[in-house]
């Protein structure tokens, strides 16, 4: 942070009908640095970046470029000032070659005596690709290269454009650059970014906080359209950043679920515990420890021999899922295909299953309300689907799981039992599901969770109940800053 900011956004306000996206945000970028920009979905990151590349105009606030006020009318303006963005889903033309994409719409720079010099273009293209360490022939079609190469081509194009416009220190914005990359490609990307940093500034947006901490110089945290704080990456910790992003996340004091001396012959005996509002309680134990059966009895899928389950002050009828559901208990089953979804029905129909009663007008279920409710939860849970009328069978595993979660969310559950919620879900969607779970907790929903790995359990839960041979053998608190190590827990489990 030596010298003046290359570009500084000051007190930026932007609102859309019904939402304030940015509320007095300050954001500066200095020469030769990598800034990490983090925040939850809806924190205002994308709006801020859209303002920076001229796609969106702020309602209030000013932008200065090396101390002089500027107005960024559109992306072309931004490119002229050396500001460019590499988008999540790429903006290259698949049918054109790398070379053609690099210089698209700016070929005029290679005009000699009225003709475009293919040789000069090719040479420049090679030089540009070498800079971003891409060893692909410049005449390869974009459709034939990996996402990693595409990203590099976009970066090279932005660097070249800013050189064309005589900008000394271009600003590159990378929005979730690593989601499409493999582990190896990710490392390459960051080493290239480090070398580009010598002559440019980079804004890095990623939901993988570890990545940001390791590869940036400082981190700017946004929450609900405001600056929360700014930390130097060298001393930043992922947990602290998370804390800043989501704000206070303390479970409430009201007990949602009380389990009293629950017992089932040949499965578990005398289990008692409680779950508070917004608390995530993880059940861990080996196969055969009885944890699965306990969860089944909570849901009414199984019938305990003795003991009681009280949800929100009401005693549940044993062995009745409908009573559990009516009392506000949800269940994310381990096998979503056979137990969580009606695969042959649409996303909307699956999301609306539990709330049809609420979507009625004049006694009949209203298609307009059905659609509205479905779209709302598809948005909220980030379900990637071509439309609300797509059959669930056609979604990927992660999106199917999000559909199951959306179904319960829309019914305003008090307690959710999650049985291996990330099983068979790809990595990107896993993160989305973790986020959803944390969001649920913030909304005050109590949760009992069983995860695929112990690390996942430790990461998500507030408190861990350890089961062994049908008995509760330990209770380990897992507060955000003082997580136990897996080793401590394994010694309890076995």
């Amino acid at each position: 942070m030596i010298g003046d900011a290359v570009i500084a956004l000051h007190a930026i306000n932007k609102s859309y009908p019904g939402v304030v996206a940015l509320d007095g945000v300050d954001f500066s970028i200095y020469e030769k640095e990598i800034v990490g920009l983090v925040g939850e979905n809806g924190a205002g990151k994308s709006t801020l970046m859209k303002i920076l590349i001229g796609l969106v105009q702020p309602d209030k606030g000013n932008i200065t470029l090396r101390g002089r006020p500027v107005i960024l009318r559109d992306p072309v303006d931004a490119v002229r000032y050396g500001i460019g963005m590499v988008f999540q889903d790429g903006t290259l033309v698949p049918n054109l070659s790398i070379r053609e994409n690099l210089f698209l719409c700016h070929e005029i720079a290679f005009q000699k005596l009225g003709f475009l010099s293919a040789r000069a273009m090719r040479e420049t293209a090679r030089e540009l690709l070498a800079r971003v360490k891409v060893e692909v022939d410049v005449d390869t079609r974009i459709a034939e290269v990996t996402p990693a190469v595409r990203q590099m081509v976009e970066i090279a194009r932005l660097l070249w454009l800013s050189r064309l416009y005589g900008q000394q220190n271009p600003i590159l914005i990378l929005d979730e650059p690593t989601t499409v990359l493999t582990e190896g490609e990710r490392e390459t990307l960051f080493s290239i970014l480090q070398s580009i940093k010598r002559e440019a500034s980079i804004i890095l947006i990623s939901h993988r906080l570890q990545e940001i901490v390791e590869n940036s110089d400082r981190i700017v945290i946004l929450k609900d359209g405001r600056n929360v704080t700014e930390v130097p990456s060298a001393s930043a910790r992922v947990e602290d950043i998370e804390q800043h992003m989501v704000g206070q996340r303390e479970p409430g004091h009201t007990e949602v679920l009380q389990v009293e001396k629950l017992a089932l012959r040949r499965a578990f005996e005398q289990i008692s515990f409680c779950v508070r509002e917004g608390e995530i309680v993880s059940l861990v134990g080996l196969v055969g420890s009885g944890k699965e059966e306990v969860c089944h009895c909570l849901n009414g899928l199984g019938r305990a021999d003795a003991g009681t389950v009280v949800l929100g002050g009401k005693r549940l009828t044993p062995g009745s899922p409908s009573d559990a559901v009516a009392s506000g208990e949800g269940h994310i089953p381990i096998d979503r295909r056979s137990e969580g979804l009606a695969l042959g029905m649409t996303v909307a129909e699956n999301v609306n299953l539990l709330v049809l009663n609420r979507l009625r007008s004049a006694g009949l279920v209203s298609p307009a309300q059905e659609k509205r409710n479905a779209l709302r939860w598809i948005e909220e849970c980030r379900i990637k689907t071509p439309s609300a009328a797509t059959l669930c069978a056609n979604l990927s595993g992660g999106n199917q799981q999000k559909t199951v979660i959306a179904k319960w969310l829309s019914s305003r559950v008090k307690l959710l039992v999650l049985d291996h919620p990330t099983r068979g879900v790809d990595v990107g969607a896993k993160d989305d599901i973790y986020k959803l779970i944390r969001k649920l907790a913030r909304d005050g929903i109590g949760m009992v969770i069983m995860c695929d790995t112990l690390e996942e359990d430790i990461g998500l839960c507030n408190r861990m109940l350890v089961m062994k041979d049908g008995r509760l053998v330990g209770e380990v608190p897992c507060p955000p800053r003082k997580k136990p190590s897996p080793r401590d827990i394994i010694s309890l489990i076995v």
Binding site: Q88, D89, G90, P94, K133, V134, E135, V136, I142, A143, E144, V145, T146, P147, A148, V149, R150, M152, V180, T182, G184, E185, T188, N299, L301, P321, S322, D323, A324, V325, A326, P333, S338, E339, G340, L341, A342, L343, G344, M345, E349, L353, L354, L356, N357, R360, G363, L364, V365, S366, P367, K384, T385, P386, A393, N394, L395, S396, N399, K407
Partner: protein
């Protein structure tokens, strides 16, 4: 960087459409196509096929088939079947005519009550005693047939004094037969129930995935009983319409309607595996069937051969709609 990996060049867009798999042609399109082909064929075969008189015949038969079919459809949507519709229709036919003699107009509500009761019985044998609907309704259907024969072994004529009441079905309004108007009302009622009421929509959820429905708190007992009640009501109304039309009751009235109602449902594209399909499918299916039966007579297809064609159409329809992903092994 691993640059030469041609096929993996997937952007964000592709991801959202992940696993679309092979696109299925909606089964209803096959049925509509079949209807068009049939009409063309029969018109070429005999110019009188499209005469007003003949169209009325097709519509009347199609209407009866539609009313039984709509009920049958509900049990098929739920993943079951109702083989007792034939027996119920025979019984209702006799009871209707006999009771018309004794209690007059009250025969109508009496018969509907009997239909509801038998539907509820079928439902409970499935949901409480847990006998598969195929066997349960085969049994109850046999019982109903025998009750019909016990009540009247021979066809009975409707009392001439009560012919006026039969006008409810046989009469016409603005030159459109009451039968068609009543059928239209019944169709709309089924449509509204299945698409816009909670219990009607639950039929689809239960048929699509009964375990998930149970775990999500849908009352699967009530929903399935309801589907069988709808089937009972459909068969009852169809039997009343038929008996009115022929001015008498017949203890063998329902025999052909077991196969034909199932055929109307599956030809329309409702899957035997449950969960997909609906009233519009059955509407098309019923008219495909009535067109086919009528047309084959009009162009003079050998009566014995007609059954083969009908059978083949049913098998092909099931082939086109059967959801093999749902059953691990076809039994």
């Amino acid at each position: 960087m691993d640059a030469h990996r041609p096929r993996n060049a997937v952007g964000g867009q592709e991801r959202t459409r992940a696993r679309t798999g092979r696109v299925r042609v909606p089964a209803i399109l096959y049925a509509v196509g079949l209807l068009v082909v049939l009409v063309l064929l029969f018109t070429l075969g005999n110019g009188n096929f499209l005469s007003l008189y003949n169209l009325n015949t097709i519509a009347s038969y199609g209407a009866i088939l539609l009313v039984v079919g709509l009920g049958q459809m509900c049990t098929i949507l739920i993943g079951g079947i109702d083989l007792s519709v034939g027996g119920l229709m025979s019984l209702i036919s006799v009871v209707f005519v006999v009771s018309l003699k004794m209690i007059g107009f009250w025969a109508f509500p009496l018969c509907i009550a009997i239909g509801i009761a038998f539907g509820y019985l079928n439902g409970n044998i499935l949901t409480r005693i847990r006998i598969p609907s195929f066997i349960a309704t085969l049994g109850t259907g046999g019982i109903m047939t025998s009750l019909a024969l016990l009540a009247s072994p021979l066809p009975v004529d409707a009392p001439a004094a009560r012919y006026g009441m039969l006008e409810i079905v046989n009469g016409s309004l603005f030159k459109i037969g009451n039968l068609l108007l009543l059928t239209l009302i019944i169709f709309v009622a089924f449509y509204v129930i299945l698409r816009f009421t909670v219990i009607g929509k639950s039929i689809f959820y239960v048929g699509s995935n009964i375990k998930m429905s149970w775990m999500s708190g849908i009352d699967i007992v009530k929903t399935r009983n309801f589907a069988y009640i709808l089937s009972g009501v459909g068969a009852t109304l169809a039997a009343i319409f038929l008996s009115c039309g022929q001015y008498g009751g017949d203890p063998a009235l329902g025999r052909v309607y077991v196969l034909n109602s199932i055929a109307a449902v599956v030809v329309g594209g409702t899957a035997m595996t449950g969960g997909t399909g609906g009233p519009i499918n059955t509407l098309i299916g019923a008219f495909v069937l009535s067109t086919m039966e009528n047309g084959m007579n009009v162009v003079g297809v050998n009566a014995y051969f007609q059954q083969s064609i009908l059978g083949a159409v049913i098998v092909i329809s099931v082939f086109l709609t059967f959801d093999r992903s749902k059953v691990s092994m076809v039994k």
